[in-house]
Amino acid sequence: MEVNELLIWARGPAFNMALAIFVFGMLLRLFEIISLGRKSDLSAARDSGLSGGLRTIFSRSLPRKTVFAREPLRILNGYILHIGLFVVIFFYRPHIELLGLDLAGLSSSVIDAVTVITILSLFAALLMRLYSPVLQHISTVGDYLAWLITLLPLITGYMAYHHLMLDYTQMLAYHILSVELLLVLAPFTKLTHMFSFVLARWYQGYLAGRRGVES
Amino acid sequence: MSSLDRIAVNLIDEGHSEMVRSILSEVVSLLERWVKKGEPGQLDLKSLPLSAADSQLLEKALGRGEVTVSMDVMGNSQMIETAFSGVWYVIHRDDQDQVIVKQIEVVDIPAIIFPQPSEVLSALGRLKLEVDKIHNN
């Protein structure tokens, strides 16, 4: 397939297919989760489960001092990675166009720097996974797969922008295809956490809220 | 002139002065080569995405020398010596006055200025004829 055809395919049919699988997969996962139900809690509530659930959805974004003190690098790296991804996905003008959002966007040089930082952060995460005994113990093939499919769009995007290795058109096609790979696999890897974390935090926050405990 | 002129055009010079810097250092190395090895050099300016501001900056940096040669051959051409001997601006225009070549040449005198021996030879013939004509009259 000639590169322009590849790009057209990536921007058109492939994107639609990938998006369809993403939407389908995420909904399926959601139904699979919700369908298992939750017994209503009959104990007398000390406080509101609702406000606890809502609070925890946000409060869990901040680390506990005690764990931060033990693993500051892992936690900081987590922030860098997530904020980096958020910035490059939502604040790069071409991406804003794609998402049809109404955001101001950042200059390409800022996005460029953030991309590099995010890529480095992913490699830092990989090193931690490879060398920490705990992470070694609990890591699965899925973890490395998720790492790879998160890295690819960043690398290809960076290389396309800087015309590294391949012609821009070709690299742009690969960039879009790598994003599509991410979309296709996200519902079937741990990347589901991009949505399910809200549920998880809600459920625990609800429980904690009823008991009137910090969460 | 037309409504197009009302469209504001901002010339941005920051950022692209980088380009002017690299052109100038290229000229330095060309001139070095000319001095040391006697090899002439050229630098095509037309294929570089120079903004108007960049061009101005470059012209300012190179300055004006003592010699300017103007040539009328299928449109105007100008060979302008810069403030640095051996470094020339060469600008060829077509008969529509459009710039078709704009380059920096590093050489004592751009070759195009010199006449061809054959042309000098034919000139000699033509000149003799001309003189004969006068004498005969």
Binding site: E32, E71, L199, A200, R201, Q204, G212 | -
Partner: protein, 424 residues
Amino acid sequence: MSKPSIKKGIDFIKAQIDAPVASFFSSCVHCGLCAEACLFYTESGDPKYTPINKVEPMRRIWEQEYTMLGKLKSALGLTKPVDEETFKKWETMVYDGCSLCGRCSVVCPVGNDISGMVRKIREGFAAAGYAPPDLIGATQRAVEIGSPMGVKLPAVKAQLRHLEEDTGLKVTLDEKGAEYMVLLSSMEIMNFPEYLEAIARIMKQAGKTWTIASTAFEATNSGIQIGVSDLAKVIVSRIVDAAEELGVKTVISPECGHAYTAVRWEGPNLIGRPYKFEVKHILEVLDEFTKAGLIRTEGMEESRLTYHDPCQIARKGGIVEEPRRLLNQIASNFVEMSDAGAMNWCCSGGGGVSANERAEEIKLTAFNRKKSQLDALKVDTLVTACANCRLTLEEGLEHNGMDIPVVGLTEMVAEHLVEEESVS
């Protein structure tokens, strides 16, 4: 009635998996931060104690039973089965290596209630026949005798008699219409009778009527610890039946962590209906009495002391401010441990660990966390509000040759109680 089996264990775990559990496993990114919150990992350095790893069998069952992808992977032979080997391997992680302290649940960035899942997975391990023998014994005694330590009613009666002899305070068993029904833990009956005296004096001072139910004096619930809801229900039902029979307004959970969780939070869900009475922890009651001016204290403990938050009471029970208000009234040199309050480190003996002889070694290893906390603080006295914590702490301190007395907060309050002659 059937013998324990792997299939039964798996089915029990299947029955335990609900939407929250599914959302937790869907969200886990294997960041490993839960390990840093777990004293069994931090003190042993053994990564198998990483909390999320303790529930791996449950994750497998969830994936294979409740996700399309898991079913597909199983069909292709890509999933790891949960078999006898799995149960054997995980038994010690699920029971010996987890005190259900809940620190992991609080630090998980995606909000996974990991300790809640350990509580659930124990249902399957118990059903499969992979529960520690000591916990089985304790549960059997709790169900058959009425107390995990085998304490019977005569022992309670004997304690009440001693109390009356020593202080002249009389406690009537099964007094209908009393405002409060007081529960005790076996350990309080056997090891810390001071508690009963403290209650009696405080209640008298506050002018409240209270009683102990002869059929339900025991607050602890081994069914919760071993993870057998059916038996936990049997045990908690005794309390509910007695309290409703006597028509008390409030049941007071004693200085015992898991008893509070069992009676306060799990109980209504085990019996399938809300209670007709309130459940309060003794510290809540003391705090209320103080606030209402029903009791007053005098004098100050001058020794340097600190308070150990029992996990089930503070982090999982929400009782954090009450003990501090009480302590500040009676202690002039009260210092806080690092991570005090909702993030306090477990004593290492919760969740059935202290009752599990087999877990002695890992428990003492995990205790090093508390030891270093105390070493840094250099206190003369350690106050707590859980008899199980108290026993674990005493043992741990003794093991490490540390001479710090451990005191129950209720007793300490009683010691400073201003006892006015009753008007009557």
